[in-house]
Structure formats: structure tokens, C-alpha cells
Symmetry: C2
Subunit: 152 residues, 2 copies
Amino acid sequence: MSKKPAETQKSAIPDDPELQAQRFGRVREAHQTETAEDYVELIADLIEAQGEARVVDLSSRFGVSHATVNKVIARLNREGLVSNRKYRSLFLTDEGRELAVRCKERHLIVFNFLRSIGVPEEIAEIDAEGVEHHVSEETLKIFQAYISKHKK
Amino acid sequence: MSKKPAETQKSAIPDDPELQAQRFGRVREAHQTETAEDYVELIADLIEAQGEARVVDLSSRFGVSHATVNKVIARLNREGLVSNRKYRSLFLTDEGRELAVRCKERHLIVFNFLRSIGVPEEIAEIDAEGVEHHVSEETLKIFQAYISKHKK
DNA sequence: CACAAATTTTAGCCATGGCAACAAATTTGA
DNA sequence: TCAAATTTGTTGCCATGGCTAAAATTTGTG
Ligand SMILES: [Mn+2]
Ligand SMILES: [Mn+2]
Ligand SMILES: [Mn+2]
Ligand SMILES: [Mn+2]
């Protein structure tokens, strides 16, 4: 029953269970940090562009209710990424600011890479927003190298 | 306070709020379907490789408890992707099988693309597992074209 | 100032996907 | 055969991130 023709199977046989589990574990980890990453990135952008970041802005730019934003902000505060006082605009802690910088760099590399292989701008914007959280440092370096090599 | 030097800012000004909201909405949509995609894909692989897919296998390969697997399977059943009878191994519905095929194709394209730009095998395996869910059809076509052009 | 509008917070609800612990069924093997 | 081991299912807990509705605060206007 498990005697397949010894041909080189497409892939059929999933790899070692533990290896596979590690990979899925990595994806779950990424999901854990994803919200935090997008929030600090957008907060940093808003502060830079408008001088301050308000719940209303996050709400409209993320496309979620302000109640949701509040709940997430509470978590980020608890985790030391955001510092906020009641009814006042939002600030990043040092840690939050550092994370934002790293995320913006990464986001831009993913976006530029997609553009450089020919993905249309708006599509690249959409894909980058999700892909960024799942690209390893190694792959990021390769993206960066590719961009450098292919820019005029 | 909001008077920046009129230089060409890196990106600073986030784009139109509604556009941005659409992008994040897309990412949230992808997260909705992500679990289903990985499950049907793995179930299909297991059936192909071992003749059947059991809760135990999913549990060990995803690296989560069997209780979690059970809960997800219940949802996939409710959504018409998986058909299962108590204490029996798992099956895909026609719809589930179709989804699995599409997901495997997409997964493979993402993986092969990463390999073709020089990402090491295991890194490519890890990244592909997350990236696959956030790559648009358009980008996928570009990936595919790139692979075709660069295969020896 | 006073009051209306906008913003923020809170409360309470839901679905998903994690977990441990216990219960039930099936399979294995002595 | 039948007891032990394995597998599967169930229950109840938690955190996250969605929502609506209502309350509290700040802001802006007359
Ligand atoms: Mn993102
Ligand atoms: Mn981003
Ligand atoms: Mn995946
Ligand atoms: Mn996959």
C-alpha cells in the first residue's frame, strides 16, 4: 500500500514531521508579532507625517473600529511598545520606535523587490503588507541584493 | 510643527486612508483562509503519501495539540471542505480537494521562486509556508514567469 | 461660557485557534 | 481474548482581534 513506484515523486512524501512542525511554528510566531508590527509602523508614519497618531487615524487606516484599535493599543502598552495616557494621542516607547524602524525598512525592501521584478505598484503595496511578516532575514538580504543589482 | 522641508520625503505621508484600509483588509482576509488552506493541503499530502490522514498526523506535523486539530477540523467540516466520521480518518470534499490542488500549486511556485533567486532550501520551505497566503494571482504569475526563464 | 460635535474609553458580545485534562473508542499485542 | 496502548473526542479554560452600543472626555463654535 505504501509501495509507490520508486520514481522521483513530485513531493508527495511530506518531510520529517518535526521539521514541518517547526516551519508551521514559525508562521504562528509571525502571526503573533504581525499586529504589533503593523501598528508601530503606522503610528510612526502618522507621527512623522502629521505630528501625532490618534485612535481615529489608526481606525480609518486599518479599516477596523476604534474599539478594536483601543484593545490592541492596550496590549501594545502592556507589552511596552506604546505609551499612552487617557484621551491623549499615542506615542511609541524606545522599543516601539526601534521596532517601527526595522519594520519600515523590511516593508520597503519587500515592496521594492516586488516592484523590481515587475509587480504593479498597487499590487505590490497589497502583497507587501502581508508578505513582509513572513520573510526571513536571509531572504530579505537576497531581496536587497536583487534590488541593488537591478536598479538603474 | 507639520512644516517639513519640502524635500522628497522617503514615503512619510501614508497614502489615502481608504486605500490603505483596503490593503489591510486583504491581509485580514488572507488570515481567514490561511488555516483552511494549510489543513486541506496537508490532508491531501498525507492521503497521497500514506493512504490516509489522521488527526495524530496533523497534530504532529502542525505542532499543535490534537484538541486544536479537532476544533479546526470541526470548522472545516462545517464549511464543507472536510468530511469526517467519528474515529475514522479524514477526507476532503470535492471542494476541499480543489482548494488543496490550488494551494499546492501556489505553494510550489512560491517555493521554487525563492529557490530560483538563491534562497537556501530549508529557508525557502519556512518562508514559503507563510508567504504563500499573501501572494496575489498577479505576483504569482510573475513568480512563475521568472522560474521558467531561469530554469536550466 | 455653554453646548454640540468629535474623540476616546469601556463593556459585552462573538469566532478563531491555542492549551490541559479527562472520557471514550479503537487498535495492538501478549 | 482482553488489557494496555493509542487514538480520537469533549470540555472548559485562555488570548487575540473583530463588532456594537453606551459612557466619558476633549474640542470647537457660537
Ligand atoms: Mn503588514
Ligand atoms: Mn507594513
Ligand atoms: Mn502555509
Ligand atoms: Mn502551504
